[in-house]
Amino acid sequence: MTAPALIFEDVSYFYADKTRGLDRVGFSVMPGECIALCGRNGSGKSTLLRHANGLARPSSGRVMVFGVCTKKDAVFARLAVGMVFADSSAQIVEERVYEDVAFGPENLNLPRPEVKRRVEKALDWTGLAPLAAKRTENLSSGEKRRLAIAGVLAMEPRVIVLDEPFSNLDWPGKTALLDELLRLKDLGTTLIVATHDVELVQGLCSRILIMDKGALIRDGGLAEFAAESQSLGLRPWGQTSRV
């Protein structure tokens, strides 16, 4: 039997000011699964994703990444789980596209030819190869999002978590990104996509997690909760929307 890629065991998290970020969240994700993570603004989606990447540590409970507890080995979690932040600009560290994609592999102290291989592969994959020498500030929002994904892909993670990847993108940008995610899914990459656009990810994700006030209130197939979407604070999906 295949072991889960991610397990959240009764995870609670409190911010420094004692505000509850996560409230006894528990679920598991199997390798290759694609999950939509939904909920109102401030419901705890980003906090949950940061736990998967080992950026945040649970106040109680534990997060296991491929059987390794993130409290014990956060670096392993960061290597296994790549995270694409909601604000792509904040994720860009270097001045040029090529350098930014190389930032992660260089941190792993990989030999230069391996860094080059990974960077070129990630740039090709995201279609950014022609922009390799471009300054990162000069990129459009869509290109910045693709750069953030390329930076994560160069780390060759087994799981990718994306925090609102469709926000601030025009329609062609959204569909291009969706195509990219579908290709990653076809490669067997485990994906967790925090989004308000459930309708957009219907073809990508088979399962949906819905959060409210830090708690996981629904976990199941997308079709199961379509009828109650609006009461859950989500844009309707699985039907023609008037919005």
Binding site: N53, L79, E95, E99, F103, N107, L108, N109, A133, N138
Partner: protein, 252 residues
């Protein structure tokens, strides 16, 4: 449209752009070092280096000056402090306080030195990508025992990475506050406080996000080393700069 900020490297294929970053850093150190104790005539001659570089690159001097206005304010206070508090022959009396001639002269020379080093630094940063600056700093520090070369280079890289962001943020904060009538606030202290508070908040938030993004991508001090290739031409240019600076320093 993105407007490149001071301290951010610009692309180009000029001699300054393609010059090996380690040689550029060495030239910067030589020029900076030569300003210490240099007479005004030597400073004037040394000023030709950044002036020629800026003209050669076609840098937008007005924008650099705008970005560095806080630095110029600092220089002004430096000169004023020397002029007002150094004892010596009085040049002019402003009410109860006198401006000293030697203090003013000393302050102006000191400000000139600082300006010269900063101008060379701007030129260096404008023609060198951050990653190369970081790598060359690391390259120079590596042979020194007990020096955390990786960490120092990373800190420098981070600072250089943040500087254009801080300058861009200060412009954005200024515009946003003016759009909400901040220029109507007559009290300059209150205006400065409002500006500084908003800017600091933005800078801290930016730094925090940057740290988080770096951590998420396994940031480490031990990174894949950058490859350097210094040609004979690179070394010849460095030797030329060193000879020029030495000539000026010991003859002017």
């Amino acid at each position: 449209m993105y407007e490149p900020a001071t301290f951010s490297g610009q692309t180009g294929d000029s001699l300054l752009h393609v010059w090996d970053a380690r040689c550029k850093l060495a030239a910067l150190a030589i020029t900076g070092g030569a300003t210490f104790g240099a007479a005004p005539a030597a400073l004037a001659a040394l000023s030709l280096i950044p002036a020629a570089g800026a003209a050669f690159l076609g840098l937008a001097l007005w924008r650099i000056a705008r970005d560095l206005k806080i630095f110029f304010l600092f220089l002004f206070f430096l000169v004023a402090a020397h002029a007002l508090f150094t004892p010596g022959e009085e040049l002019i009396r402003l009410g109860w306080i006198g401006v000293s001639r030697p203090g003013l002269a000393h302050g102006l020379v000191l400000a000139w030195r600082l300006f010269l080093v900063t101008a060379c630094g701007v030129l260096f940063a404008a023609t060198t990508p951050n990653s190369r600056i970081r790598a060359s700093v690391e390259w120079f520090l590596k042979p020194l025992p007990g020096v955390p070369h990786g960490r120092i280079a990373s800190m420098m890289g981070l600072l250089l990475g943040l500087l254009p962001g801080i300058l861009a943020s200060s412009n954005a904060v200024s515009c946003a506050q003016q759009a909400r009538g901040a220029d109507q606030v007559k009290n300059p202290v209150r205006r400065l406080r409002l500006f500084a508070t908003a800017l600091l908040r933005t800078v801290f938030s930016r730094s925090q996000n940057l740290a988080l993004a770096m951590t998420a991508r396994c940031y480490s001090d031990t990174r894949t080393p950058q490859e350097f290739k210094a040609s004979a031409k690179d070394m010849a240019v460095l030797a030329g700069v060193a000879a020029f600076v030495a000539f000026i320093r010991f003859n002017a």
